[in-house]
Structures are given as C-alpha cells and as structure tokens.
C-alpha cells in the first residue's frame, strides 16, 4: 500500500528511477533539467502535505503557508544577514515547523472543515502580513535575485542539490510513515475516537504531525529559492494550497508516491499544454472532475487497486463509511 504499485517489489523500481534521474543531466537539454527540478520541489511539497492529508486524514487546506514561510526564511537569511548559507537552509524548515506548531496549537482541536477554514484564515493573515510588510519582506514585489553559493547555482548544480535533498526528505518521510508515529497517524485518520481509546493523545499527535509536515514543506520552500532565486507572496496564497491538494488527489492520496506523480502531471500539463492554449485552467478543471468521478483514489491508487486483487469489486469506502453515516445521524 505504501510503496505504491507492487508493494516492496517496487524498491528496485525506485532505485532505477533514481539512477535515471542522476544521469539525466548528461543527456537531457537544460530546460528539462529545470523542469524536473521544479517537479521535485513541488512534489516534495505535495508529499509533505500528504503526510497530514492522506496519512493523517486532516483537512490541511492551507499547506502553502509553510512552503512560503520556508522560502521567505531562506530568502531573508540570505539577503538580510551575512550568516553562512547553510544556516539559511537549516533555519527554513525550523521556522516553518515553528509556524506549524503555532497554527497547530490554534487549529488542532477543531474538527475537519472548521480546522481547514481556520487554517485558511490564519494563513491569509500571514499572507497579508507578508504582502504588505515592505521593509521586511519586500511586500507584494517579493525578493528577487537571491544569490546562491556557486556550488548550487546554475541549472545543473541546483538540480543535483534539489535531487539530493528531495530524495533524502522522501526517505525520511517514508521512514516516518513506517515508524510508530506514522502508524498512529494513519490510525488517527481511520478512527480518532478509537485512537483516544487506546491511549493516544489525539490533539498532541495532530499538532506533531502538522509540525512534521510543515518542516518538510519548509525544506521544499528553501529548495524553491535555490531553484528560482526569488520569493513572492503568491507562495503563501490559498489557491496554491488548493493546487497542491489537487496534486495529491490526482496522483493518489493514499499512496506514498502519488503526490509526487500528481505534481509531475500537473506541472507537465501546465508547461506543455500552456504552449497551445490559453484555457489551461479549463482543462485542469475538467481533468479534476473526471478524476474525482472515475478515479477517486487518484492515478496511483487506481493502479494499486488493479494490482491488489484480494477483494475485487469491493470498495473499501462503502463498508468503512457506513458506520460513520450512522454515527452522524445519532448525534
């Protein structure tokens, strides 16, 4: 389930893929290296969201906040202070995680939709602050021309840096999901009440999950700075959050690599379809509708189901949601 397609058999596949990515700059044109870098960064962001969304079952509606916070932290550290570069990269996830903690403390006790909406509210507040604190964040103009040390500047070096960090983060996230903490997280998604009844402090774990997700989103943010050399308030805007939600859904939000796949699909669509049509959002919207209608588990989830034939024709959704329906009725 976690590995995506073939269970543990997919490990060689992943390794093969990784090797391919490592050798890619020797064969592919520069633009594609850039494109893959962008996919990796966005994919990392989407995967970090999926940590709380798909695995934690939390309605994280405004994940981009942490991405933005990470990006801004790196950018501000690099432009406003003379601290070494690595400090900027290390502090980004930490600051993002701190914001995750604060927002988590405020939101975590609310239920599903309220949780998401309060998060949007808090995130919008943060966006407003970034948007108009000209002296500090550069306001709506953002900060541009952030220079990176030579080792990681330029398309190919940046690519390798991003690839290495993304791979490391994915591995870490994978370990986290496989860890007892990750297990409890999934348990929380499936049944928070039962979780409480086996001695899990639900709120504390939700906050913790949010902090971890924010941490990785912060990493993605600082990688964005490496890639683009710019930060701007759009990074914290709520529409971006919904876009990455879509990536998770499209790729398959109950799979580990689904969000990465979703990010790749949407970025390629945006890049290549954008050459032919102005009406990109229309296409994206229609694609989303079709996905929701016919592939509610996303592309990878669908592929997964194809290979898992233990219960053909039986949707888990139906049976597991029946009790929920009853419980809402009683309350």
């Amino acid at each position: 389930m976690i590995f995506g397609i073939f269970g543990k058999k997919s490990l060689p596949l992943v390794v093969l893929f990784l090797v391919g990515l490592i050798f890619m700059p020797y064969v592919a044109p520069r633009f594609y290296i850039y494109l893959v870098s962008a996919m990796l960064v966005t994919g990392l962001l989407a995967t970090s969201l999926n940590l709380v969304l798909g695995y934690g079952g939390m309605y994280q509606f405004h994940h981009a906040v942490f991405y933005g916070v990470g990006a801004y932290t790196t950018a501000l550290m690099l432009t406003k202070t003379s601290l070494p570069t690595w400090v900027a990269f290390v502090s980004a996830p930490l600051v993002a995680a701190f914001f995750g903690l604060v927002i988590g403390l405020i939101c975590a006790r609310l239920s599903s939709l309220h949780f998401g909406m309060l998060q949007i509210s808090l995130g919008s507040l943060l966006w407003v602050i970034v948007y108009r604190w000209y002296d500090f964040t550069g306001g709506d103009d953002g900060i541009h021309g952030i220079s990176m040390p030579a080792v990681i500047s330029g398309t190919t070096p940046a690519y390798y840096f991003i690839l290495a960090i993304t791979a490391l983060c994915l591995l870490l996230m994978f370990i986290v999901i496989k860890s007892p903490f990750g297990r409890i997280l999934q348990a929380l998604r499936d049944n928070p009440e039962r979780c409480a009844a086996i001695g899990v402090n639900v709120i504390r774990h939700r906050i913790l999950a949010l902090v971890v997700a924010a941490l990785f989103a912060g990493v993605a943010g600082s990688l964005f700075v490496t890639l683009e050399g710019s930060v701007f308030p759009d990074l914290l805007f709520w529409t971006l959050s919904l876009e990455i939600l879509i990536m998770c859904l499209l790729g398959g939000w109950f799979t580990f690599f689904g969000p990465m796949l979703g990010a790749c699909l949407i970025i390629s669509l945006r890049t290549f379809a954008g050459n032919y049509t102005e009406y990109l959002t229309l296409i994206l919207g229609l694609m989303m509708m079709l996905t929701i209608f016919f592939l509610p588990k996303g592309v990878l989830g669908f592929v997964n189901d194809l290979f898992r034939t233990r219960f053909p024709g039986q949707s888990l959704e139906e049976s597991s949601h029946a009790p929920d329906k009853i419980s809402t009725k009683i309350i």
Binding site: E318, S319, S320, A322, K329, I330
Partner: protein, 232 residues
C-alpha cells in the same frame, strides 16, 4: 397487502438477512419477534427501501416494489416508525407533522387535527421543538408522523422500547384502535408480552433467518420456541 419473498440484505460486506420471507394481510397485525440484533430493524428497513435487499422480491398490494426508494414506498401507502424514532429534532411537533402530510384517496384521511385527536398529548406540544420531547411523546409523534402519510400498512419498529409501562399500555390501545380502523401493521418487537397481546400472527427472526412462523395461539403454547429464540 405485503409480501416479502426471500430477501437478502447486506451492510457492506456483512450479510444481515438470509432469505427472509413474510407476508402481511389486510387488516391484521403481524409481529416480527426477535432479539436485538436479530435482523428485525433491517427487515423493516429493507421493506421500506432504506437498505434495499440485494436479492429477493417485495410486493405491495400486488405491485412489485423491490428497489423502490423510501419516498415511493411511503407514497404507495407504507408508513414507517423507526426504532430510534428519528423525529426531526430541530422542527416543532406541528412542523414534523406538516412535512409528512400526504393527501389520501379516501374521505377520512389523517390530517393534523386527527392526529392530535388520536394523541391528545401532542396537541398541547404543537410548537415545542421535537428534540426536547420525552421518549413517550417522541414515540407518539413518530407514529403520528407515519399516520399522517395516510398509510395502508404501518411498519412499527419496537414502538414500546424504553417507555414507561403506562405509556406502553396506552400505545397498545392505540395500535389496536388503528387495527380496528382497517390498517395493517407489521410490528417488530423483542418484548414478547406486547407482541403476544397485540398480534394475530407472528414470525420469529434470529440471526437473519426466519425461524418460526405461526398464529399467536400456536406461539403462546410453544414454550420451547419462545425459550430458544426469545428470552431467558
């Protein structure tokens, strides 16, 4: 009136009803006895179309009604009183009745006044929120709500459950009164005393199978069956 033939009902993967068959004739009270969890409520819901059976056939007044959605069942003349009452808690008693009212074909149809006449206790509560009523009052309301749809067949799912003995007695009287007016009733009960007092015929359901069927007299004499499927 109602004929249920070999229905099988599932909740998700769980098979709840196994080839359940029963019938209710015009003007009689038929009771479906069984312990909690035996499948009484599921049978009721399957007839009503709330949990449509996967196999089997239901006919009502000669029409095949298998798979009809609940609202059509109601319009075809089936009134449903669920075991957990399910009054519309946010609405007043009067409103509960108003939204359920259906015009009837005959002359002496049920309307709000007649329901209030039938259950005088309710008329004083017209504007009270249904959610704050006592159990007995809620039960009267659910029965009233079913009656105002002008049914020919009433599905009563454990109407006496959890109620004080006085109210149970009162309800029993009312149910007999309804029977006298020509209504058919399918009554699900786990309290065999009530069932034995009210019904003409009985089915016993256990674990989703109909284990016994017969007249009330037969059942009353058959201590063994009652011991096995019903009580202590």
């Amino acid at each position: 009136m109602l004929d249920v033939r070999e229905i099988n009902t599932y909740y998700g993967l769980s098979h709840i009803l196994f080839d359940v068959s029963l019938s209710v004739h015009k003007g009689e009270i038929v009771c479906l006895l069984g312990r909690n969890g035996a499948g009484k409520s599921t049978t009721m819901k399957s007839i009503m179309g709330l949990t449509p059976p996967k196999q089997g056939e239901i006919t009502l007044k000669g029409d095949r009604v298998t798979g009809c959605p609940p609202y059509q069942m109601c319009r075809r003349g089936v009134g449903f009183v669920p075991d957990d009452r399910r009054v519309f808690a946010d609405l007043s008693v009067g409103e509960n009745l108003e939204i359920s009212a259906r015009p009837c074909q005959g002359s002496d149809g049920w309307d709000k006044e007649r329901v209030y006449g039938f259950f005088p206790a309710l008329s004083a509560l017209d504007r009270r929120r249904a959610g704050v009523l006592s159990g007995g009052e809620q039960q009267m309301l659910t029965i009233g709500r079913a009656l105002i749809t002008n049914p020919d067949l009433l599905l009563l799912d454990e109407p006496t459950e959890g109620l004080a003995p006085i109210i149970v007695e009162m309800l029993e009287e009312k149910i007999l009164e309804l029977k006298a007016s020509g209504l058919s009733v399918l009554l699900a009960e786990q309290n065999q005393n009530v069932a034995l007092r009210l019904s003409d015929r009985a089915y016993i359901i256990d674990n989703g199978h109909i284990r016994y069927q017969g007249s009330i007299e037969e059942l009353r004499q058959d201590e063994a069956v009652r011991q096995k499927y019903l009580l202590v």
